[in-house]
């Protein structure tokens, strides 16, 4: 029985595994405390973490193309502050929502050029950006928080069909990115560049142009994440959330994006982001001692990764 189950699991993709794990988690926690499964709680799990899932989409593209970005947390912090400053200084609200997308794309185009044309390895270029953005943010804001945001600015608090907007963004952007990766020439070139840069070049795909585009898109998606981040509360903090980049990268790789490039889908990363959010919330519902919470989270991440490895080896 068990071997048949694991065999079945083994033949399915990482996405299915994640769905099963998420459902199992919901079932277990829900049986301990039924409130966990209330529509209200499920919504708040999605809403509070949608910006991580959104950012993980862009990160997945970057990793599939064979690169990495450790500056995304800092970028989100900077773009959120810029959005907030525009809104509080009387600029139209649509501009405050749109500017982070454009600026994110511009900043990351620059990073992409450093990587693609100046041949600076992506981890170095983005490590440097991490320093520049997080230091620059403090210099710029002097450490003050942004408050007094105008009415109507809180995009993340809007609802459509009684579903909060961050959830729509998360679902919509995941589907868009999945279509982009699956059905366009650009999507195929990203996989090609990531799996075998030489072969891609031979088949006429411009390696450099693809990498720059990937980073530009990643920057724009980071801008969306920043707006969701900035518009959730009525105050925007001017520090970069500590360790946000690691959470986003973890979501991407646990979602089945191979760190070696060339493999993976954006569905997986969104599912993984949902899983992490659910884990964080469920441990509180399960009354896990607060001191041990992070250790249990670590065990769960490790278990997911090992299960994935076991699955891959069985499917060979």
């Amino acid at each position: 029985m068990r071997s048949r189950l694991s065999h079945t699991l083994g033949t399915l993709g990482q996405e299915i595994l994640l769905v099963v794990v998420i459902l199992a988690l919901f079932a277990v926690v829900g049986s301990v405390n039924a409130r966990f499964l209330s529509q209200h709680n499920l919504t708040s799990i999605f809403v509070g973490n949608a910006y991580i899932a959104v950012a993980a989409i862009g990160m997945s593209l970057v990793i599939i193309s064979g690169n990495i970005d450790v500056s995304i947390g800092a970028l989100i912090g900077v773009l959120a502050v810029i959005s907030g400053l525009l809104a509080t200084n009387g600029y139209p609200i649509w501009l405050a929502w749109l500017a982070p997308l454009v600026l994110g794309a511009l900043i990351n185009t620059l990073v992409g050029c450093l990587i693609a044309y100046a041949k600076v390895p992506s981890i170095i270029a983005t490590l440097a950006m991490l320093s520049i953005l997080s230091g620059g943010l403090i210099t710029f804001t002097g450490g003050r928080w942004i408050s007094g945001l105008p009415a109507g600015y809180q995009l993340a608090q809007f609802r459509l069909l009684d579903v909060p907007s961050p959830v729509w963004f998360m679902i919509g952007m995941t589907i868009l990115a999945a279509l982009l990766m699956r059905y366009t020439a650009f999507g195929r070139s990203v996989y090609a560049v990531g799996s075998n840069a030489e072969a891609a070049r031979a088949s006429g795909i411009s390696h450099a142009a693809t990498v720059v585009k990937v980073f530009a898109i990643h920057g724009a998606i980071g801008g969306v994440a920043a707006v969701l981040f900035a518009t959730q509360l009525q105050v925007i903090q001017s520090t970069v959330p500590v360790g946000l980049e690691l959470v986003i990268i973890t979501a991407s790789v646990v979602g089945g994006v191979s760190i070696l490039g060339g493999v993976g889908t954006v569905f997986g990363s969104t599912l993984a982001a949902i899983l992490f959010a659910a884990i964080g919330s469920s441990l509180i519902f399960l009354n896990v001692s607060a001191y041990w919470l992070r250790a249990v989270q670590g065990v769960l991440i490790l278990a997911t990764v090992l299960a994935d490895m076991a699955r891959r080896r069985r499917t060979g």
């Binding site: 170095i124 490590l127 320093s131 690691l246 973890t250 490790l302």
Partner: protein, 316 residues
């Protein structure tokens, strides 16, 4: 081979020139910078990062990465306190046990990476969460204080006019230089980074080498934990948070290729010193911390850019 060596020498040489330039510029800015007392003091402050950077050079030369070093540092720091105060062991025994625990943590990383074939980035991302969680759970977030005076000698004392931990650092660095440069083990390390499959086919002990390197990384992180606890005379579960990025910055600034196969311990040492004098020198010349962070990011990019440009010329 000679061409490769030339390029190798070149990056470290550029870095050394950059270091000397920085030294002179900063000395011109503040007359308190270029003094023996200040430089020795800076060396004391960089010892923990420096210690971990030595095995990290090996890790990155194999094409891997170890993100869990900061968490191992935190875990081992906590364990010293717990073994000593809560378990009532003599302090030397507590230190030995803590070193063992760190070694074990590194070994576990190695096993996950070699036996289960989990990519190092993911494996150590997971253990980063796990080890930090263990530190928090075991300590119940309590600090342990009141260490005997002799213990402070390591972190706060001097030996022959030089901060005591520098002797330890020098020893580890020399061992690192020797092993990477002059032993079969070192050659295997490079071979793995250049082409792991080829190294395996040619009968090199790939798995064993990687396992040993990650184990050493854990051991040295524990060593850094002891030095750190002795320097600040308290243990907290959040010690070493984010140190992994500092360590990796020093190593890649030192010319070790993030793709593996290239790098020297000497380069890491220069990279490390460059970072430290920049932080110190800029602060002494009146630049605030956030400005310094920006400059370090910029230097990281510039260093890689210069060496890229020069290596292109030398290839022509």
């Amino acid at each position: 081979m000679t061409a490769v060596t030339r390029v190798l020498v070149r990056h470290e040489a550029i870095l050394a020139i950059l270091f000397v330039v920085a030294l002179f510029v900063l000395a011109a800015q503040s007359d308190r910078f270029l003094t023996t007392a200040n430089l020795l003091n800076q060396a004391r402050l960089m010892t923990e990062v420096g210690l971990i950077a030595i095995p990290m050079t090996f890790v990155i030369v194999t094409g891997g990465i170890d993100l869990s070093v900061g968490s191992i540092l935190g875990l081992c720091a906590i364990l010293v306190g717990v073994f000593w105060q809560n378990a009532g062991l003599p302090l030397p025994a507590a230190i030995v046990l803590s070193l063992l625990a760190g070694t074990l943590a590194g070994f576990a990383n190695g096993v996950i990476i070699t036996r289960f074939r989990v990519p190092p980035l993911i494996a150590t991302l997971a253990t980063l969460a796990l080890y930090r969680g263990l530190a928090e759970g075991i300590s119940q977030a309590r600090s342990v204080r009141g260490y005997p005076a002799w213990f402070a000698t390591l972190g706060q004392g001097e030996l022959l006019g030089i901060p005591s931990q520098l002797w330890l650092f020098a020893l580890v660095a020399i061992v690192g230089i020797f092993i990477l440069r002059f032993t079969t083990f070192g050659r295997t390390t490079y071979a793995i980074g250049n082409n792991e499959a080829a190294a395996e086919f040619s009968g090199l002990a790939v798995e064993r080498t990687k396992l040993l390197i990650y184990t050493a990384s854990g051991f040295v992180s524990a060593l850094a934990a002891i030095v750190f606890v002795s320097r600040v005379s308290t243990t907290r579960s959040d010690m070493g948070t984010g140190i992994e990025l500092e360590v990796i910055t020093a190593v890649v600034l030192g010319g070790t290729s993030i793709f593996g196969g290239r790098g020297m311990v000497v380069g890491t040492l220069i990279g490390l010193c460059l970072m430290q004098i920049l932080q110190n020198g800029l602060s002494l010349s009146g630049v605030r911390g956030d400005g310094t962070t920006v400059v370090i990011g910029a230097v990281l990019i510039v260093a890689v850019l210069i060496s890229n440009v020069l290596s292109r010329f030398s290839n022509d």
